[in-house]
């Protein structure tokens, strides 16, 4: 008890210091004013609403599926950056790097497991999130355009997962991408040019691996970040999450 009080006093003093105030630009978040400041005075949090409806915080309202999709994206970004330190987008070095992750790199297996698992989970979570939002009627006015952004995010998620699938350069990766890119060539007229553009050639080889690597590590993640930011910001601008009475 005494320790708690001492800690509180110490924290209180810390919050009053010039350094603390210079960083956080506010005092302790004890009044609604400073709590508002905590959200819109923060670069990362300011896309969120300052106040939310109590009902929209119930587990049944969202099952946290949107948040879980986002958290998985964060986990994938962190583990992905770590994996990039051990990976060369070249044939056959890419496959050798996989073997190194298993036999040489400390916790390399764990790192790859985590990335793979989170990737599969993110595809599931994003689909589930979409269907749940549909059944809750979350796409109805004024949320129409945020639903469209969400469909864009679903596509980016699928492309992210798909481009990552080739990178280990094993049989599983090679033939899965073969099946997928063959489907593209069925598109009338544009099919073959699109496939050529995606693979950097007529076959899945060194060029295709490099293109998938750049798409997977740079272009698609940037697209995802932009869309996620817009998606979150629109929740606030459209007046918060749809809240519905539970009468199912």
């Amino acid at each position: 008890m005494a320790t708690t009080i001492w800690t509180q006093q110490w924290l209180e003093q810390l919050r009053q210091t010039r350094l603390w105030r210079s960083i956080f630009r506010r005092g302790p978040a004890r009044t609604n004013r400073t709590r508002s400041l905590a959200v819109f005075g923060n670069l990362g949090l300011h896309v969120l609403p300052v106040k939310v409806r109590e009902k929209s915080l119930s587990v049944r309202a969202t099952y946290y599926l949107g948040s879980i999709s986002f958290f998985l994206f964060v986990v994938l970004t962190i583990t992905g950056i770590l994996l990039m330190f051990y990976y060369h987008p070249a044939v056959p070095d890419a496959y050798r790097d996989m073997k190194d992750l298993i036999y040489v790199v400390s916790n390399g297996v764990f790192l790859r497991n985590l990335h793979r698992l989170a990737a599969q989970a993110m595809v599931v979570a994003v689909f589930w999130h979409m269907f749940h939002v549909f059944y809750r009627g979350g796409y109805k006015p004024p949320h129409e355009f945020n639903w469209v952004i969400g469909v864009g995010l679903l596509l980016v998620t699928l492309f992210l997962s798909y481009t990552g699938y080739l990178l280990p350069w094993d049989q599983l990766a090679f033939w899965a991408i073969t099946v997928g890119t063959n489907i593209i060539s069925y598109i009338p007229v544009l099919g073959r040019p699109i496939r050529f553009l995606l693979l950097g050639g007529h076959i899945i080889g060194q060029n295709a691996l490099l293109r998938f690597y750049v798409l997977h590590c740079v272009i698609l993640p940037l697209a995802a970040v932009a869309l996620i930011a817009a998606h979150f910001w629109r929740i606030q601008k459209d007046g918060g999450l749809t809240v519905r009475d539970d009468h199912e």
């Binding site: 915080l57 698992l117 006015p141 355009f145 469909v151 997962s161 598109i187």
Partner: protein
């Protein structure tokens, strides 16, 4: 009542001088027209705290799973050695299953494009915004359309022998008829079915088909895309 202070009095009976504002609010037409907003909470700390806990739980579950489950890694890629069957990632196996039945332009291009377009236009084409149950009005006429649509689908799917699409379609179709033939059903499940609007039925049909196709493509397809049992 002096002319000078009229703004203090409120409404004047002269409509030209003081326009009336009349608002018609239709029930449940828009999320903007809420009956009431209800109690609100500050995002900081209520949302931040909950989200932090959710993130921590998720991380713990992921780490626990990653310790016991290993990511697959097969032999080095070999363009000369085609595995049989060669499978796409699991979320595209529904498409691959469709390709087994339909011509490639239909299954590989037209259907996925239409699905994405349909998803995009959902909020703009939801004519039944009130969420009125499927059989609420003109139920005989609706039954004719319902049966007609199902018959066309049935014939198309039967021509192509696409029975992994046909079975979930028939099941959801039959489920939709329960509230029509037994509108006074009293069990919770029957009441639930009876209150579902058309968009609900379309989406449920889509999910049923997509889940069936993905599950079949993942677990029940072997060499030459033939049917195999996952335990054999």
């Amino acid at each position: 009542m002096s002319e000078k202070n009229s703004y203090e009095v409120g409404f004047s009976s002269d409509a030209l001088r003081q326009p009336r504002r009349i608002v018609f609010i239709t029930r449940k037409t828009s999320a903007k027209v809420k009956e009431e907003i209800g109690p609100q909470l500050m995002s900081f700390p209520h949302v931040i705290l909950r989200e932090s806990i959710a993130f921590q739980v998720l991380t713990i579950v992921l780490v626990a799973l990653a310790l016991f489950w290993d990511a697959p890694l097969e032999q080095l890629a070999n363009p000369l050695l085609t595995p049989n069957p060669a499978k796409a990632p699991w979320y595209f196996l529904g498409l691959q299953e469709l390709l087994h039945y339909f011509p490639p332009v239909l299954a590989g291009v037209l259907i996925p494009t239409l699905v994405v377009l349909a998803l995009v236009v959902i909020p703009y084409f939801d004519v039944n915004i009130e969420g009125e149950p499927l059989w609420a009005h003109r139920s005989r006429r609706r039954l004719q359309i319902y049966a007609g649509a199902f018959a066309v689908l049935f014939v198309l799917l039967a021509i192509y022998n696409a029975w992994t699409v046909l079975v979930p379609t028939a099941l959801v179709g039959a489920l939709g008829l329960i509230p029509y033939f037994n509108p006074t059903g009293n069990s919770r499940f029957q009441k639930f079915l009876g209150s579902r609007p058309l968009p609900w039925w379309v989406m449920t049909w889509f999910i049923a088909v997509a889940l069936t196709l993905t599950a079949v493509g993942t677990f029940f397809r072997g060499p030459g895309w033939s049917w195999v049992w996952p335990w054999s």
